[in-house]
Symmetry: C2
Subunit: 331 residues, 2 copies
Amino acid sequence: MRKTILTGDRPSGRLHLGHYVGSLESRVKLQDNFEQFVMIADVQALTDNFETPEKITESVYEVAKDYLAVGIDPEKTTIFIQSQIPEIAELTLYFLNLVTIGRLERNPTVKAEIQQKGYENSLPAGFFCYPVNQAADISIFQAELVPVGDDQIPMIEQTNEIVRKFNRIYKTSCLRECQAYLSHAPRLVGIDGKSKASKSLNNALYLSDTPAEIKQKVFQMFTDPDHLRVSDPGKIEGNAVFAYLDAFHPDKEEVASLKAHYQRGGLGDVTIKNILNTTLQNLLLPMRERREKYNYNDIKNMLYAGTHKARKVAINTIEQVRSAIGINYFT
Amino acid sequence: MRKTILTGDRPSGRLHLGHYVGSLESRVKLQDNFEQFVMIADVQALTDNFETPEKITESVYEVAKDYLAVGIDPEKTTIFIQSQIPEIAELTLYFLNLVTIGRLERNPTVKAEIQQKGYENSLPAGFFCYPVNQAADISIFQAELVPVGDDQIPMIEQTNEIVRKFNRIYKTSCLRECQAYLSHAPRLVGIDGKSKASKSLNNALYLSDTPAEIKQKVFQMFTDPDHLRVSDPGKIEGNAVFAYLDAFHPDKEEVASLKAHYQRGGLGDVTIKNILNTTLQNLLLPMRERREKYNYNDIKNMLYAGTHKARKVAINTIEQVRSAIGINYFT
């Protein structure tokens, strides 16, 4: 039997090339070998966007369209919306009993996020508890593998602690421990060459950008400010164009030779930007074509079917959870 | 239209005379004038009994039987089991976004309970968050009145804060603020005359006790340790027999005259205990008769029907909640 893998995104905007290289690309491959569930995590996204719900709800369809565009195939992958599986909320509540406030406070991922969001003085309880909600996501789908970056490993550990405690206290084996499926993709920088590509910094190339937008952003990219004349030697480090060529150019030898040429001088920024533009247009063209095949109703039907399928799995698990706790009074 | 009132109990054992005088008795009256929902709060009871779920789950039917025994009429009152309304869990999750950890820490009721339970160093997140779950209970049934003692007023305030915040942020009026329906019933002491009657102190008279058990407990009751001979003057203060006579004897003048007699001397403990025994046997006899009319299946069917009815109300509210947040993608 194929192993189950659960992954997903917080829908807080369209997806960009950073998402593609970090995870979307690998999902397209994983769907051939795993039972893959991809969750659009609107409930989780609301924990830090509860005052602007439209930002989240309007992104759900955008994200779904991006999935289809990159080649995630709803025949192979179950794409679903978190909020439409209320069994996750139910399991979250039972999981909250198994975690102490002290343990949640020690979660390094959440600790860092609290600081980053300036939540120290008014930390919403929903945000503070979201790792427990995440543990419920993973457990309810019996996920064996969860693709994460290094920084997310504490979440996997916390999930497994809860699962072990649940199975021990309620004398069951109905929940399954999971493993981190480590992604070693480097974080893609923004077009400014510094920070991580992100919507809020307005420095990302979106999968749904038009050819003209892509070209414009490529030509705005940060290169080497000291590389004034074509004949000057140029720097590769911190040069966004080469970071993107590394991530997306199909021919690694060609990129190595371009780098050497740029470093010794004689290769202009316009030339490398043109090469990158061609590379990205080639990458995005089939995505754009796929995207155009789907209208609003297709997306809605696809999400409905995926959510229906996911919910069946969730219901099966929650029924076992209820009977393990002993609250299956009417069955 | 009749106002909606929501009340209930944590099912952690059979109900006793303290529950009767504090709330059950008034529910029998309230059901004639209000749309009354009575919740068996197993999810809430699990927040501090999650390691011994059988204690809770086995009490659910006992509590339901006690309700029927005292005269709560399932034709007039909707009796239901909290865990069987998963919409409450869903609403709880959205409410958690609207409360800060700091606000939860300041809840005086929970503060006192944390200390009492010795949870300072290992506070389960579920217990810490239970006021939010309670707010969801109240809101999902659109309760206008919630019977509480003075010590529970902070819970009502917290609920209304959350409701106001929800309605404001999501630009809706789908949730309703509630009012405390204050109970002025004194806390009934245990047969030791000191502490509150409770299961853990083994000092309570249960509604389901046999006549022999009632008599035995009445004769064990703490009276006045200095009242050695019948002719001695006796003390009323701290005398459990008189506390129970005050609470349950139908004739207040008779009780006043017994008190005066006891205080001036000449009234023996055996005499007052016999009077109390007769009083309690008279009170409990019709309850016992009612109880015997119901078998296991009757209780199960009654709970099923009540839960089904309550769930319809909850589903109606959660649908409004979902559309206020904007997560009604498929409707």
